[in-house]
Amino acid sequence: MRARGAHRVATAGVVTGALVLLLLLALPVAVLVMRGGVEGLRQLGGDAELRQSLMLTAAAATAATLVTALLGTPLAYLLARDEMPGSSIVSAVIELPLLIPHPVAGIALLLAFGRASPIGDSLARVGLGIVGSPLGITIAMLFVAAPLYVSAAREAIARVDRRYEDVARTLGDTRWHAVRRVTLPLARRGLIASAVVMWARAVSEFGAIVILTYNPKVASVLSYDRFTARGLDAALPVAAVLVILAVVPLLVLRSLRAGVGPAERLS
């Protein structure tokens, strides 16, 4: 009897804890959407600044994601196959941006690529200024979100048994040919999911971007700008639209996770 009573108390404790956490996560978002959602969607038609800001945000996040996929997938492959010298150091370097406060990341980027730096100066001379440009926004997004892509892509590739690649090579494929014909198709769902996570993270970035490129304004900066300049009511619709748009990658991720890839089906 005592044991059953203790079990009930423990169950009640777990359920209550879970509900409190769920409430903490869901309540602010729900309130925000309820108060500003309809107005935000209505404003999309007439607020050119908001529309441009959203398009800039999406375009920069997409560019950052594509560049990372192009450069980060080979890196993720080498890390997954444990074939990179000093891979633990490389992994630490890749994960570091996740741990740096994002305004600090912005300051670091400013120092490395701002006009006072040799790289930033050189780029500015050929018309590729980092500060105050869409390029700067893309670089800031890439810096803070690329680690998510590389880590997730590494996991996705590591789940593909290396022997598939080995068999392809005994059938005449070179190493990279085998990766292209076998490993990447088998890791495809995981790689897409990694890109979606990165894209979503890039869209939501504020701290690094606001240091590097206040103007032109991405959606998160616009929301902050309106809040500081015109108050809560002005910021609400922008913020609510950002939350509603975040549902899109969430749904894509859910559908990717719900499906089963070819390698999983076989096993």
Binding site: V167, A168, R169, L171, D173, R175, L186, R265
Partner: protein, 349 residues
């Protein structure tokens, strides 16, 4: 020809050490050994998908140790097939060749043509192995590495595929290295066989020699010899330089006469159960050098054969005789018997 000289490699913590052997061109080599003895690592190192840490791999007379797998022109079939799950069965078979006719011909000969339209995920384990075999053969390799390729096939299909593969091997003059746990398969297919143990090659010989004259007690034990006794071997006659001498073995309370090339010292006596003759009275006028008195401990009938265990010295001696003989001798626990063994049937190693 497949030749390995002092070949070593690593698979995680497992180490393949100093593998040295030669499989002549057009021969069928068999690799036997307990699980985890390094059989798969050996095949993968020969195929080049696992790097050799030392030693060399020579294929067709050419040192390929530093050649990547795609340059070795070796087909490999894994136990689990590793069919590409994102491709259809026919795409899998044609993966390594541009000759669609060759791919479809090999599929037909192995009975995989009926599976062409099936999804890989819907295949049974045996069907996957057949498709994996067709895929490895389609590019026309002259060296084939097989890692238990028939393990998941039902008996009927196994016999058929095995026979077809044997025909293909002769037609195409292929050299084969085949990992199996099936001693019958080893005996029927193998021109040369090796036993691996703990990452090393314990013995290389033709299958008959391997089974009759195992190089060590461990090899004899793995190959299923019914009687393996540890003890001391003494050379009785001939000079120490002669290859073959009369030998005496003492161990487990047994004294056995044998013939062989053992140099003397610690060793094992190996006697196959079908070499032990049982009688209920001492046989006079026989050439057999060993007559051991014992008592029947157990009679296990398995169809036409019976496995009779008798106490002999401090050991148990197993004789495999026909069930008819066991019946005629009225063998049952407690019956006193004489086990007679020819000296030439006592293998000392």
């Amino acid at each position: 020809m497949i030749e390995a000289a002092g070949l070593s490699s690593r698979a995680g913590r497992f180490v393949l050490s100093d593998a040295t052997f030669t499989i002549p061109a057009n021969a069928w080599g068999i690799v036997l050994g307990p699980a985890g003895s390094g059989k798969t690592t050996l095949l993968e190192t020969i195929a080049g998908v696992r790097r050799a840490t030392s030693g060399s791999v020579v294929l067709r007379g050419v040192d390929v140790t530093q050649v990547p797998p795609e340059g070795r022109r070796v087909g490999i079939v894994h136990q689990h097939g590793y069919l590409f799950p994102h491709l259809s069965v026919s795409e899998n078979i044609a993966y390594g060749t541009r000759d669609a006719a060759a791919a479809s011909d090999i599929a037909r000969r192995l009975g995989a043509d009926a599976l062409a339209d099936r999804a890989v995920q819907s295949l049974s384990g045996g069907e996957r192995q057949v498709v994996a075999l067709a895929r490895a053969l389609a590019p026309g390799p002259d060296i084939l590495l097989l890692d238990e390729p028939f393990a998941a096939l039902d008996q009927r299909r196994r016999v058929r595929v095995r026979a077809e593969l044997r025909r293909l091997q002769r037609e195409r003059s292929m050299t084969v290295l085949h990992v199996t746990h099936d001693f019958v398969e080893a005996g029927t297919l193998g021109d040369i066989a090796m036993v691996m143990d703990g990452g090393r090659i314990a013995q290389v010989a033709d299958p008959e020699t391997l089974f009759r004259k195992p190089a060590s007690g461990a090899v004899a034990d793995f190959l299923g010899a019914e009687n393996v006794f540890g003890g001391e071997v003494t050379r009785e006659s001939s000079s120490a330089n002669d290859d073959v001498a009369a030998l005496e073995f003492r161990g487990h309370g047994l004294t056995l006469s044998g013939v062989g090339d053992h140099p003397g010292g610690p060793g094992h006596a190996v006697i196959r159960g079908d070499e032990v003759v049982l009688s209920t009275a001492v046989q006079h006028g026989t050439s057999a050098r060993n007559a051991i008195a014992g008592t029947v401990l157990e009679v296990a009938r398995d169809g036409v054969l019976s496995r009779v265990t008798i106490s002999a010295g401090d050991a148990s001696l197993v004789a495999v005789i026909t069930s008819a003989s066991a019946g005629e001798l009225s063998l049952q626990p407690g019956v006193d018997v004489i086990a007679t063994i020819k000296a030439t049937a006592v293998h000392l190693c």
